[in-house]
Each structure stands twice: as C-alpha cells, then as structure tokens.
C-alpha cells in the first residue's frame, strides 16, 4: 500500500473518532460544536506523556482518553440546564477557550539538549514516538483501525442495549424520559463523558500520527465538521459518522482534479443532500428498512431449511 493511501486512511480513521464523539451527543439530542476541545486535550495529554515523560504509547493513549473524558464530565455538569442552541453555543465557547488556553500553555523540558514540549502558539512539535520506536505507517494504521473497530463495537452494542435506547429517548423528548423514571441528568453527563473519551482517544492517535500539533488545528472548523459528518452520513447508526468522514475526506482527496473548487462543489452537495435527507444518508428510516430486510431474508432462509422436516410427519 503506498504511503499516500496509508496517510489518507489514517486521517479518516482518526477524524472518525471526533465524528463519533459528536454523534453520540447528538443522539441524546444535544448539538455540540465543541468536541474538538477534547480531541485537543487528548492530543496534548498523550503527546506530553510519550515525548516528555517517556511513557509507552498504550499508557499515553489511556492517559489522553482519561484526561479528556474527565474534562468532558466536568463540563457536562454546568451545561446540563442548557438545551438546543444555548448548549451548542456553550460548547463552542468552551472549545474556543480551550484552544486559546493551549495558545498560552507552555511546558517544555530539555531532553538530550533540546527543548521539547508544547510551546504556546508554536504548538507541540517532535512527538516522535512512532519514529523512535520503529513503528511504520502501516502498523500505526492498523492500530488506529483496531481502536476504531473497538469503539464501533462498543457503540453498536450501546445502540442495542438499554442504555442506547435511553439515550435516544432522551434525545426524542427529555420530559417524557424523565417521567419514565430515567435519571436524565446523570445519563446526559455519562454520554458527555463517553463522547469526550472517544474524542480524546482520537486526539492521542492524531498527535502521534502527525508528530506535530498546534492550537490552530483544533478550531471551530474541526468542531462543526465533526457534527456535519454525522449529519451527512446519517444519524441512524454509528456507521453514519464514519460514512460522513469517508465521503468528506475520501471525496476531497479524489476530486483533486478540481482542486480549487473542492469546497464549492462539496459545500453545495452537502446543502442539497440535507434538503432531501435532513437526518443524513443512513438515517433512522434507512437503518430500520435495512434491519427489516435482513430479518426477512434470515426468516426466509430458516423457513427454506425447515421445509423437509415439516413434510415428514
């Protein structure tokens, strides 16, 4: 596989984490423009762990996920009372605050005579773990997708579990959910925590993938994009945000011929798509129909294999 393709696929994998993060919150009915803050926190935390503290990649990723998850829980509480637009803008404000704080954050250690560490607006360079430890691009790609697969597994399980149903119930009508005896506030904070952790894992991977992060990367564009992926790909299933990322980055890469017009075409396509499909390509209706079709097929398969037995009475 050539390096360029590996690079693109790695990008798709990492960005999927933020997309899933925004998607999870969207399920509970909350729009978040701020998941990039947890992406950033995860990236910096994991980068500091490997580059400055000499931890292993695994430990660093867990640390990054924990810090961002914790931050998400902390932010989830004061914003509980907010809904809809107010919540969305609060997340936006929070994310920008985090970004500016990283612009002011300096933590440098001298290693082998060289200053390493986050340096405010100059960013955090030389997160060289995968080079220092001989991990080639393809191995890292495998790591990204293994973790993504594990996350997807978790989310798909969630969808079919009681907690997943609770999340969607809260998303549909909070008052009704409360009346059903669901501790809405606690579940929403839980959702925020899980979402933050997801974004944090993605951030840790991103920092090591690119070896260089700076606060500019984690701006509003990233946040609104993450939300858009879920909306484009579809909100009916955790595969939706992945599809959205694939379409965006995949399409962007392949329409290179029209390089200067990419955004114009893509922006227009998204706007048109959302007119016909406001809940995305794989929205709840489509997922339901696919599920129904699958059940019909498996029922038919079972019936056909049972026929002979039925005849021999």
């Amino acid at each position: 596989m050539d390096d360029y393709l590996i690079g693109v696929l790695s990008n798709i994998g990492v960005i999927s984490f933020v997309a899933l993060s925004a998607y999870l919150l969207l399920l509970t009915g909350e729009i978040s423009f701020g998941q990039q803050a947890f992406f950033a926190i995860g990236a910096y935390a994991a980068g500091i762990a490997t580059a400055l503290w000499g931890w292993s990649l695994a430990a660093a990723l867990v640390w990054g996920a924990a810090v961002s998850g914790g931050a998400a829980l902390l932010v989830g509480v004061p914003t509980l009372r907010l809904h809809g637009l107010y919540f969305a803008i609060a997340t936006l404000a929070f994310a920008e605050m985090v970004r500016i704080l990283f612009e002011l954050f300096r933590y440098q250690i001298s290693i082998d005579g060289e200053l390493i560490g986050p340096n405010g607006t100059d960013g955090f360079r030389n997160i060289r773990y995968i080079f220092d430890h001989n991990i080639d691009a393809f191995q890292f790609l495998l790591l990204i997708y293994s973790l993504l697969a594990a996350a997807m597994l978790g989310l798909l399980l969630l969808e079919r579990s009681r907690l997943g149903v609770i999340f969607r119930m809260i998303g549909q009508d909070e008052t009704l959910a409360e009346l059903q005896g669901i501790p809405v506030a606690r579940r929403k904070v839980l959702a925020a925590g899980i979402a933050g952790t997801l974004a944090g894992i993605g951030g840790g991977l991103y920092a090591h993938l690119t070896t260089y992060v700076e606060p500019r990367i984690f701006d509003i564009m990233l946040g609104v994009h993450s939300l858009a992926y879920g909306l484009i790909g579809g909100l009916g299933t955790a595969f939706g945000p992945l599809l959205g990322v694939l379409i965006d980055i995949g399409l962007l890469e392949s329409i290179r011929a029209l390089a200067g017009y990419r955004m114009i075409i893509f922006g227009g396509l998204v706007a048109l798509l959302l007119i016909v499909r406001p809940r995305g390509l794989l929205d709840e209706m489509v997922v339901h129909k696919i599920g129904r079709g699958w059940r019909r097929v498996s029922l038919w398969a079972r019936r056909s294999s049972l026929k002979p037995r039925g005849n021999s009475a």
Binding site: G84, L85, A90, A228, G267, V270, A271
Partner: protein, 296 residues
C-alpha cells in the same frame, strides 16, 4: 483610570458595530429559530464586492458601502433559498449544518476570485483624531458609532412602526399563528433575511473601513462576534443585541489593553460561557424556551 475611560470609549464605538452584527443575527434567528452560520461569510462576500470596486474603479466610501450591502444581500438570499427555505419544520440542525457547508463554499469562492491574504478598503476619515481633554477619539470610530446607532434606530422604527415590522414581530412570536392570520411567512422570512444581510453588510462596511482591509478570515470573525454579542444581550431581543454588542466591545478593548490580544479573545468566550451557565437569557432576553423545535 484614564486608560479605563479611554478604553471604554473605544469599546463603545467598536461595540456599536458588534451590536449591528448581532442585530442582523437576531433578526434571522427571531423569524427562523435557526442559526445561520453563513451570516458572516455573506457579509464577507459583500466586503469583497466592495474591495473590487475600490481597487479597480477607485470608488469612494459611499459607493463601496452600497456594494458591500448589495453583495451581502445577494449572498444572504442565496443562503436563505438553499439552506433555510427548503427545510422542513423540524430540521433545524440540518439547516445549521447546511449553512456551515455554504460558509465553506462562500469562503472558497472568495479566495478563488481574490486569492491574496488581504485587500484594501477605503478609510472612513483621514483627519486627525479629536481630543476631548485627556481622551482621544478617532473620527472614523465616531462615524462608525453614529452610523451604527442610526441604523439600529432605523431597524427599531421598522420593527415597531411599520406593517411589515408588525408582521415580523408576529412571526417571531409564533410562526403558526402568524400564518393563520394570513401573513405570508415565507416571503416575510425572505425579506427579513435580505434586511438582516443589509444591516450586516452595513456593519461589515463600517468595520472594514475602520480596519482598512478585508481578509478571508472576516467571515468567521463576523459570525463569532455577532453570535457572542447576541447571546450576551439576549437571544431574540433587538435592544439586547445592541447592548450586548456594546458590552462586548467594552470588555474586549479593556482586556486587550491590560492583557493582550489572546486574553481579549479568551475573556470574550469566558463572559459568554458564564452568561450561558448563569443566565442563559442574557441581559435583555426572554426566559429561554426550547430554542430548537422538538427534535427531528
């Protein structure tokens, strides 16, 4: 102390344009209950119209201002037709994301036509700043303040003393009821968009003329400032938008003076976040209802 007053003076003047931006935002939000993320970029398109006029035809400030307003209105109508009019009632998030997509589209279109980092804008005034005792007041800032206040007054007049304004307030109160009473909601929304874009265009022109340049980053900047000012002042409140803008301006200029530009931005967001957590309705807004219609 003198610094504080000087900064507050400057802040009020700069804040007046924030207030105008917030005003346009509020009008759109009021009738649509949705956020238009392409608001700033449409104003930027207007700005690019203006700079082309200035650069290639040497037009004066008034002509450039008209070009900016015209450009903003055209872009605004385009956004409305594509992102808001065709959406069904509950698809609020879809509208927002769609307007974001168009934001990207407009930004790239602008960069394609005018690829450089910055383009010049005619100044509002070239005379020396006025002195009032120990305080300095830039003449272009003063012009900005006067124009902004005049515009805000005009909007207020339109809203409260014209039939169209009455229809608008009816829609803001309840779109369904307005429709039942015979108001053509769709046309009114379109006209509101055009009007809000015009107001935004005027605000944009004032800011760009004071800065004497337009850059592709202007779109996002304008959207953010308008958004923050609107939320601080109170979602859906017209006087709130102006007040919010003034407050934001004062806070910003003082923060920048004492702590530098990064802290200035940080403080703006902290203030916004604090308001949202403690008093979501802002200074003058109504108590928050579910701002988004029931999910769909």
């Amino acid at each position: 102390m003198i610094d504080l007053v000087q900064n507050t003076l400057d802040g009020v003047m700069i804040g007046s344009s924030y207030g105008l931006l917030a005003l346009g935002f509020t009008l759109i939000f009021g009738v649509m209950r949705r956020l238009d993320l392409a608001y700033g970029p449409s104003i930027m398109i207007g700005g690019y119209f203006g700079t082309v006029l200035y650069l290639y035809y040497g037009a004066g400030p008034l002509a450039v201002a008209s070009a900016v307003v015209l450009g903003a209105v055209i872009a605004g109508i385009y956004v409305e037709r594509l992102c808001f009019a065709p959406m069904k009632a509950g698809a609020a998030i879809a509208s927002m994301v769609s307007s974001f997509a168009i934001w990207m589209q407009l930004e790239q279109a602008a960069i394609l036509v005018l690829p450089r980092h910055t383009y010049p804008f005619p100044p509002l005034a070239t005379v020396a700043p006025l002195e009032f005792g120990p305080f300095l007041v830039r003449v272009d800032h003063l012009i900005m303040l006067v124009c902004a206040l005049a515009l805000a007054a005009a909007v207020h007049l339109a809203l409260y003393h014209t039939r169209f304004g009455l229809a608008l307030r009816a829609i803001i109160g309840s779109p369904v009821a307005a429709h039942l009473v015979g108001i053509n909601v769709r046309t009114a929304v379109l006209l509101t968009f055009a009007g809000a874009s015009a107001v935004g265009g005027a605000a944009g022109f004032l800011v760009l003329a004071v800065d004497q340049q337009v850059t592709p980053m202007f779109g996002m900047w304008a959207t953010l400032k308008g958004l923050i000012a609107m939320m601080i002042g109170g979602l859906g409140s017209v006087p709130g938008a102006v007040v919010g803008g003034l407050l934001l301006g004062i806070v910003e200029v003082n923060s920048q003076w004492y702590f530098g530009p990064q802290i200035r931005d940080l403080v703006a967001y902290v203030v916004l976040f604090a308001f949202l957590v403690v008093r979501p309705r802002g200074l003058l807004g109504r108590a928050p209802e579910p701002a988004m219609p029931p999910k769909a």
